[in-house]
Symmetry: C2
Subunit: 175 residues, 2 copies
Amino acid sequence: MKLTPIMQKYVLHWGEMGTRWGVNRTVAQIHALLYLSPTPLHAEDIADTLGVARSNVSTSLKELQGWNLIKIVHLMGDRRDHFESVKDLWDMFMVIIEERKRREIDPTLTMLRNCVLEGDADQETPPEIKQRIRDVLEFIETLTTWHEQMRTVPKPTLLKLMKLGGKITSFLGKK
Amino acid sequence: MKLTPIMQKYVLHWGEMGTRWGVNRTVAQIHALLYLSPTPLHAEDIADTLGVARSNVSTSLKELQGWNLIKIVHLMGDRRDHFESVKDLWDMFMVIIEERKRREIDPTLTMLRNCVLEGDADQETPPEIKQRIRDVLEFIETLTTWHEQMRTVPKPTLLKLMKLGGKITSFLGKK
DNA sequence: CATTAATTTCAGTCTAGACAGAAACTAATG
DNA sequence: CATTAGTTTCTGTCTAGACTGAAATTAATG
């Protein structure tokens, strides 16, 4: 796999974006590379293309599998694992949201619920502050419920909804 | 400002979440603290409460101001700057999205458009790959347009919309 | 305009986590 | 079952960037 200047620019930028969102640079680069690649790639190919250590690639591929963003495929007459990325951008987007929710939002909800529970018995925390925490809990719960409902909506409907955009509000206004 | 166990838990968790989303831990902790605090706090108070260096607080406050998440207030008979956080969670959410868009999405769109432009003259990048990049550009543009429209919708309407949730699809289905 | 309070800047230290390379492991094939 | 290809684990190194504390700067007050 040889990278043309355009592909290089894309992969490097994606790596950079990764770091800004708390994702390891190499992981993000590999994902970008696999997204662009028309064919599945094996680990050594990836290592050579990106100029990183073979072991680093191995770890990153594991991580990407943990995110459900890539999967292993096997090619006829080749023992090596090959990897290909989810190509549908909507699916990719949803998968990422799903995972981040599971890893970050859900634990946060747990923490907030604990705070609220402990708050009942707690005399030292001012009521005002307890309320603030309850507000956050309620806010995130609202977002989560909404996400839960959107999750089940079929892709084309969702797309229609987005394309509709602001027009939906006029409908609401009349209601 | 003394932190009760509940407040401590909240602030520490928020700091942790920050790091997962590419935000400096101290910055996130200070933001959490200012959100909880019923009154504006001055830098030294924050430093003492969180146990970090005064200078570190100074830098972090600057950063939070850059994000439009906190603002300076002055108290009668006190020369020191005091800081208070945006308290409305919906506003806070919108401000964060706005800023991340400006800092990360907009540059990404620029990069993608450049790739597409350069792609016209470029003979070495396979058409399939060029198409992939165009797909990403289109996808992000769709999201951005949608965001642009939602941005102007008044808060209560937006809330109604979210509460409506899945029901909106049945309306679309009939259409 | 000297004094003091408050804030920012800067230079150096420290650390988490990314990364390389070697060693260990696993499993396919003749 | 030895050989070899492929993958993972592990240990140590390196570095970006968070953080500190001191020095420099700014601004308010009598």
